[in-house]
Structures are given as C-alpha cells and as structure tokens.
C-alpha cells in the first residue's frame, strides 16, 4: 500500500511518467483514427463499429464522433502528456536530486497531486461512456457552443460537464504541484547551491511552477464559471437573444469573448509550461555531450525569465480575429513578436554551446539536436502567426495545426525523449539500447516533418482545421493528396514509436547495467549530494585530468 500511495518523490516521478506514457499512446491512437477517417470518410471500418456501436454505426464515423476524438486528443496531449512528463514526471524525480534535497518540501501534498491527476484523467476518459459521448467543442471549449448543453450537439451534455470537471481537478493537482516545486527550490537547496549555480533544468522547473500557479488558478475559475452557466443558469459567457435548434435560450448579458480572454490567459503560458522544461533539459544535454559549459548561462536564465514573464502578456494573439478591438490586436502583436527575441537568444546559445565542442552523438544528444531543429522550424511559423495582418488568412487553418504541433507538440516530445534517454540509467539502473534509440530518433525526425510540413501547405490553400471531412468544398477536394500523404506519414511515425516502447520495457529488465555516472556529468543527481562549489556545467576544464568537475568538487 505504502509503495502505491508513496510519498517518495522518485516513485511519484515514475508514476507521472507512466501515466503520461499511457496518455500519449491513447492520444496518438485517437489521432490515427482521425487521420484515417479524414482520407476515407465513407469507408466502413469494423473496428470503429465495435468501439462505438452508435456513433459509428455500420463502421461509418459520424462528424460528432470525429470532433469528440479531436477534443479528447487535444485535451489528453496538452494536459496529460505535455504538462505532465516534463514538469511533474522528470521534475519530481530530479529536482530534489539536483539541488541536494532529500525529497520535495511537502511529500504528502506531492502524493496527493499525483492521485488527483489520475482522477482527472479517469474523469476525462469517462466522457466517452456517458450519454451523447465525449464533448465536441475542442480543447479550447469556446462558449456558447460549450455552454449551451445537449441542445448544441451530442457530447455537449454530460460529456462536456465531465470535461470541465476533469480540467478543474487537473487545475487543483497542478496548483498543489506548483506550490511544492516553488517551495522546494526556494527552501531546500543544499549548502553552496545559490540560484545562479542551479542547473538550467531547475530554473525551468521553477519558472514553469510559477507559470502553473497563476495560469491554472485562472483556468480553474473560468472552468467553474462555465460549469455554472451550464448547470446553475448563470450567464457569464452566454449573451441574450440566442435561438438554438429553434429554441429560444433563456440567458442574457454574458460575453463569449470573456471566456477566450480567461482561457488564453492560461492557454498561452501553458505553451511555455510544456516547452520550458524541455529547453532547460536540452541546454544541459547539449553541454554534457559537447563536453563544454553552456554558452551564456546567465543569458539563458534571463531569457527563460523573459519568456515566462512575456508569456503572460501575449494571450491576445489567439484572438486577433475574435472580434476584440483591432487596436488591442496591435498591442498584443508587438508583445508577441518581442517574445521571439529571448527565444532566438536561446537558439543562438544552443548553437554556441556546440561550437568548439567535443560532440558525442548519443541518442539523448540526437533528440536535443532535433529539438533545436524543430524549435527553429516552429518558431518561424510563429513569427508569421504572431502578426494580425497575416493571421487574417491563417487563423484556424491547418497552418496553425502544423505550427503548434511542431513547436509545442513535437519539440516538447523530443525534449521528453532526450530526457528519457539521459535519465533512464538513474531511474532504472540500466541503459536504454542506443542502436534502437538512434533508429527510433532518425525515423521519428523524418516522420514528424512529413506529417506537419504538408499541413503548412494546406494552410496556404486555406484549408480550415476541425473539419471531419472535406467533401462539401471544391477547393478542399483538390487538396486531398496532401491529406493522404499526411495520414500515411502519421501511421508510419506512430509505428516507429513502438520501437521506443519496446526499448523502454526491454531495457528496464535486460538493458546494460548502468554505471553510477554513465555520462560523466557534473550535477548532483549523478554524483550524490554534497556541498556545492561552483556552477553546473564545468566540462572541458583546462588543466584537469578528467574533462569535468562535479559540482561537489572544488574547481
């Protein structure tokens, strides 16, 4: 019992890791079902009929089932994968080790945050099994669609309620986690571990925790207001004078835009919640496997602080064409473009870290290099979307889908892979198989470009997102070859992930037994705790026999 309901941060870290692993494969499976349906909308699929006897009666998927899968895919991936592994999984396991603390500041609270997260996931999945099925309003749940109840479509009844509940529970779990991270970093660092000697991973977890604290608090409030609109007859988000399915709606005075402001006030920082820990990690990995200090440690810290701070001032770029004042769009666009500057600083510093290095291409390093490549690719399309002038065409097209999947989805996932290969020896005492790992990396790297680059072209042609099929429009029918290619690339890339799954479970039992410090790294999770004498990235130090000086050794 005490091993399941453990208060030990290493056990909790692994619990989060495996919860997210399950969620990632569930979310990926949903995306495959969607991609298949998009190119064969009229094909009878026995599997669909078996899974959803009513929503896919006879094997043909209804549009509402497609939209439910889309909603659940987005929700699962954003909350239970991208928010969960980099912060709660790796953070829980390695933050105390890296700062020389015995455990997190509040171990019981830590245990509670994990079990609350699991409850949240189960609540979300339950939406598939209630009357009407899962909600279809997308992971952004814009009202009035999300606020009107079953009259707005199947899944908008009980399913949408469960969705809101699940998100509210997730917010509570994240708030508990955030407080724990902040207190641990501020209060439990070992002797000599000043803030400017923290590994960049710890800085990233610290800033992410602060972002979570404010972001999830606002999302929790917004979710409760939405729930009240649905069950208590309030009108926070529903304006007067609505006629839905020939019925007059008895609400008045609410504002649909209010939800968008609240949601994106959380939703944009959420992007950085997903990516900051990856940035911290790959900074470390590039340094370790280049055998060089991180280029511009201080600049990296300031850039992350700037991204965290500015991340709160740019939410309006999701709303350029929402009907808000066109003048605020200009203000938000200036702030949005400015956030590109610290992002560019980080990229330059990563390249600077490689410069003059002694580069070892381990699988972890390959994924870190892949991260930089993807970050540049997705960052540039962000430069386009951050401008209201250009968003006039691209908003809600596949260009946006391509952009955020590359930068928020795949780059963050590359961070997770890099971290898994880097820390696996510590977590499981064995090494992941490197040959299998490299094969997995190469195929995945090519695969994700094949999936998400064509989506940019679909965006050029104006193909809207969130369409269950493209039969109604002449111009979209002509784009089907791109969709066909994308679907095949998605199946290929998903199949490649089985290599990773196999490697993970096989290496846990059969992998080569790991040395205590297999990468010759300097940080405390590898060397064991002790008094800290200097910064975390002393590699290639001249005049030393070893090419690295652990933080616990005097320089």
């Amino acid at each position: 019992m005490s091993r399941i309901f453990s208060r030990d941060h290493t056990v909790i870290g692994k619990q989060y890791f495996f919860l997210a692993l399950f969620a990632a494969f569930a979310g990926m499976l949903m995306s495959l079902i969607m991609r298949y349906h998009l190119i064969y909308p009229d094909k009878k699929v026995g599997l669909f009929a078996a899974l959803w006897p009513s929503a896919a009666a006879g094997g043909i998927m209804t549009p509402e089932l497609y939209l439910s899968l889309m909603t659940m895919h987005g929700t699962i991936m954003v909350f239970f994968v991208l928010t969960t592994v980099p912060q709660s999984g790796f953070g829980n396991y390695f933050l105390p080790l890296q700062i020389g603390a015995e455990d997190m500041a509040f171990p019981t609270l830590n245990m509670l945050s994990f079990w609350t997260t699991l409850l949240s996931l189960l609540t979300l999945l339950a939406a598939f099994f209630v009357e009407g099925g899962a909600p279809l309003s997308g992971w952004t749940a814009y009202p009035p669609l999300s606020a009107l109840g079953a009259i707005a479509g199947p899944g908008q009844g009980a399913g949408q309620n469960l969705w809101i509940l699940s998100i509210a529970i997730f917010c509570i779990a994240s708030l508990m986690g955030a407080i724990n991270f902040i207190v641990t970093i501020l209060d439990m660092r070992t002797t000599g571990m000043s803030l400017m000697r923290l590994p960049l991973t710890c800085w990233a977890w610290f800033l992410t925790a602060i972002l979570s604290l404010f972001g999830f608090a606002v999302l929790l409030a917004a979710g409760l207001l939405l729930l009240l609109d649905r069950v208590a007859g309030t009108s926070f988000f529903i304006p007067g004078g609505l006629l839905v399915s020939d019925q007059v709606i008895n609400h008045k005075g609410g504002s649909p835009l209010l939800w968008q402001h609240l949601f994106w006030f959380f939703g944009h920082p959420e992007v950085y919640i997903a990516i900051l820990p990856g940035m911290g990690l790959i900074s470390t990995v590039l340094s370790v496997f280049s055998r060089k200090p991180v280029f511009g440690y201080r600049a990296m810290v300031y850039a992350m602080c700037a991204i965290g701070f500015l991340g709160y001032l740019v939410w309006g770029h999701h709303m350029f064409i929402s009907g808000m004042s066109p003048y605020s769009a200009i203000a938000f666009s200036v702030l949005t473009i400015i956030i590109g500057v610290p992002s560019a600083i980080k990229t330059f510093n990563w390249l600077g870290t490689l410069w003059g290095g002694k580069i070892r291409l381990t699988t972890s390093m390959l994924f870190a290099i892949g991260f930089v490549s993807l970050f540049v690719t997705g960052g540039l399309s962000g430069l386009v979307l951050g401008q209201p002038a250009l968003d006039l065409y691209f908003h809600d097209t596949y260009f946006v889908v391509g952009h955020f999947h590359i930068i928020m989805g795949v780059a963050a996932v590359f961070g997770i892979f890099s971290g898994t290969f880097y820390w696996f020896p510590k977590m499981f005492g064995r090494m992941l198989n490197e040959s299998l790992g490299k094969l997995h990396f190469y195929l995945t790297y090519v695969g994700v470009f094949m999936i998400f680059i064509p989506m940019h072209f679909l965006g050029f042609a104006g193909n809207p997102r969130r369409y269950p099929d493209f039969k109604e429009f002449t111009f979209m029918e002509k784009l089907m070859p791109l969709h066909v290619f994308t679907t095949h690339a998605a199946f290929f890339t998903a199949a490649v992930q089985l290599l990773f799954l196999f490697n993970l479970f096989w290496s846990m039992k059969r992998g080569i037994v790991a040395a205590a410090n297999p990468w010759n790294a300097t940080t405390l999770e590898w060397t064991g705790p002790g008094e800290v004498h200097h910064g975390p990235y002393e590699y290639g130090v001249p005049g030393r026999e070893n090419d690295f000086v652990p933080q616990t050794e005097k320089a």
Partner: protein, 258 residues
Amino acid sequence: MPIAILVWLVTAAVTYFFAAQYWWFPPPINQHGLAYDEHFHRMLVVSGVIFILAQVALGWLVVRFRDDGKRSTYSHGSNKLELLWTSATAVLFIGLLMLGQHVWADVHLAKAAPNALRIEVLAKQFAWSFRYAGPDGKFARTDMKLMNDASGNPFGIDAKDPASRDDKTAGALRVPVGVPIELILRSRDVIHNFFVRELRIKQDVVPGMEIPLLFQADKAGEYEIPCSELCGLGHHQMRSRLIVMERADFDRWVRESE
C-alpha cells in the same frame, strides 16, 4: 554524421516545397489581397533565409566539432555576442511586424466609405443568410420571435414595417464588382467565422456582437465561404458562396422579386 546529412536533407526538401508553391493561395481579387501577398512573400523570404542558415549551421557544427579525441574549447560564452544577436533579432522582428501593420489597418482601422453597400450577415448552425436593404437603403425592423427558417425568414423581419417590402434575403453573398462593401456580422447561436480565401479576410461572427467588416472585390466570379470557427457537428457543411457580379447584373438581381 548521419544526423547532419538528415538535417540538411530535410531542410532542402522543406525549402524546395515552399519555393515550388505547388499548393498555394488562390489569386487575390482585391487591393488588400495584393498587399497581403506582398507582405507574406517578404515574411516567407526572410524566414526562409533564417531557416536555411540555422539548420545548415546546426548540421555543420555537429560535423565540424564531432569528437575527434581532442579536448573541447573551454568557454562560458560572450556578452558581446549576446548583445549583438539580441539587438539584431529585436530590430529584425519588430521591423517585419511594422512593415505589415498597414495590411491590418486597411481592413480594421479604416472607416466605411460613404457609398459603401451595407449587407447584414446572419450565421447560425449550419448556414449563412445575407440581407440587403433594397432601394430604400433601410433595413426593416427584426424580431427574434419572427425568426423562421422554414418560411424563409431567418432574420425575423417584421412584415408590418414598411421598410421590409424591399428587404431582400439570400443564401449566397452577391456583391457588385469594385464597390466598397460593409458587412454587419451577427450570429444567432454560437461563434462562426466568415472567411473568403480570395479576399484574404477572416472574421469571427460572435453572438451578442455586431461586427463590421469592410472589403471590396475587384474581380467577378464565384468564391467559396467555409465556416472557419468550430460551431458544432455540421461545421464542415456550413458553406456559402461569394458571388461578385458586374454592376448591371447586380442591379438587375436586386430588382428581381423574391
């Protein structure tokens, strides 16, 4: 080594397909569209150059500095370089943004021309309706209780209002060529989105709000209007057409009785 080659190959392939423009925007049909395309082209060239430089550099660094037994260069960075690339990117990014602001301003900060033709747009799950004031230039009174799609009155026009006699309701958006248009966008239920690719304009249609949208179409033809904000299970079927007509044809159409 394979990683560098792979990064370069992917870069070459991506660059090729962006430059070849096999899948591209439809040609614009107005001045705004031309200005849009010009600014987008500028962004594409600049981002293309950054994309190629960054990816080529990434691959090159991995090849050049691979482990060959020598020690690495011990360096914690350079403040001079940090300052250089921080200011360079800031100037470049802000500059690009400023160069495009007029494209936004022309659509959203301009006032409607005095001779602009006003057309009401009503979106609902899952259809579009358009209302013309007719020769008297007045939109008749509407009442929610009178809204009835089956009898062809989605706007709820009050027949007792004399201004209603020449109001015209249609399922497609017909406009005369070369005339400034002011759309008044309204929704009856959830959020929808008005999008015409050839106009390079997209605007959410939000219940509880009346959102004006200015445009002009300079080329006759038919263009599709796909709803571009998720509005429910029929979202993908919410289609209408923009029909740009010669002035004489348009006037004839307006005079025709329903």
